[in-house]
């Protein structure tokens, strides 16, 4: 079966987030003064074949940990799962 996952990778709290800061400071010029915080991270969508969902999810977690993020500075979160027959 083919499963679809989305992985969200974001900087660990406490680290400077220059991209988030840049977006935040650009917003007032566009008329939005009510935004409190912005953080920019990565979104990775992938599909994989696996016998069942828990196997698939375990693999995605391993990929997120080993390849898609650097655990020293980033956290990740696995978003959804959808199965395509």
């Amino acid at each position: 079966m083919t499963f679809s996952f989305e992985v969200l990778v974001s900087l660990k709290p406490g680290l400077a987030d220059p991209a988030g800061k840049a977006v935040l400071s650009a917003l007032p010029a566009l008329g939005w003064t009510n935004v409190g915080a912005v953080h920019v991270g990565k979104h990775i969508a992938l599909t994989l074949d696996a016998p069942d969902e828990s196997t698939a999810r375990a693999q995605v977690e391993a990929m997120a940990d080993r390849l898609l993020s650097n655990p020293v500075i980033e956290d990740f979160r696995i978003l959804d799962v959808a199965r395509e027959p």
């Binding site: 220059p18 991209a19 840049a22 977006v23 650009a26 010029a29 566009l30 920019v40």
Partner: protein, 238 residues
């Protein structure tokens, strides 16, 4: 026509890097460089505007995206609309695409790496303010230096660009042959520079301002700036 030297404005955004180099190139080619500031609503009566290379606002989010909303860009849009010559180099090209003054967009190089090297460009049209003095097929040597210079457009748009002749420069071999081996960043159809329909707004990823002084590299930028200067005078005089 007058004998006066054209006034070429160069915008400094926060994070612009090649603004001084563009001003120097203008001076070398006989124009008067005028510094413009992103936060002003004033083009200081220049005859042409250059958006220089660099990393405006750190190029965070998307290259050129935040600069699009700078106060001076309102003036640039108005200037472009009445036919004023506008040249975007590298980051300036990205700003012009983000501003919809030019078609398409620029994404990460296919190598995913920044690349700084000399390339050869083939001129595709003389219907633009930077190629008016050039002949299609001519080649120019100048450097590139960017991490996000792969030109992309959706198929429909690409078809329109082709039919309207909006491609100004393509990456080529020294002999002018356009092929994948000479595409340094994965641009569609080797596109290195494009124009708007009127030809007064042009953007390119390579750096003509770094190719006017033979002591520090190639000289393919000389004719680009020469054309820009003469177009600036022509528009100002008309």
């Amino acid at each position: 026509m007058t004998a006066r030297t054209p006034r070429i404005g160069v915008i400094t955004f926060p994070g612009s890097l090649d603004d001084r180099d563009a001003l120097a190139a203008v001076a070398t080619m006989g124009g008067t460089g005028v510094s413009l500031w992103h936060g002003d609503h004033d083009l200081r009566s220049v005859d042409a505007v250059v958006l220089p290379g660099g990393f405006s606002y750190g190029d965070y989010l998307r290259c050129g995206a935040i600069a699009t909303h700078a106060p001076i860009m309102e003036e640039v849009r108005a200037f472009a609309a009445i036919g004023g010559p506008v040249l975007g180099i590298c980051n300036g090209f990205q700003v012009l695409c983000e501003s919809r003054l030019l078609p398409g967009a620029l994404i990460r190089n296919r190598s995913l790496r920044f690349v700084c090297r000399e390339v050869t460009l083939r001129v595709e049209t003389s219907q633009s303010v930077v190629t008016a003095d050039l002949t299609p097929g001519e080649t120019l040597a100048m450097p590139i230096k960017h991490g996000e210079g792969a030109f992309v457009a959706r198929t429909q748009e690409l078809v329109r660009m082709r039919s309207e002749g909006l491609v100004v420069f393509r990456y080529a071999g020294a002999d002018g042959v356009v092929d994948d081996a000479h595409d340094p960043n994965g641009s569609l159809e080797n596109i290195a520079g494009v124009r708007n329909a009127a030809g007064n707004v042009v953007g390119l990823m390579p750096h003509p301002e770094h190719a006017v002084d033979p002591d520090v590299g190639a000289t393919g930028g000389q004719s680009v700036f020469a054309s820009l200067l003469s177009s600036a005078l022509a528009v100002a005089g008309s």
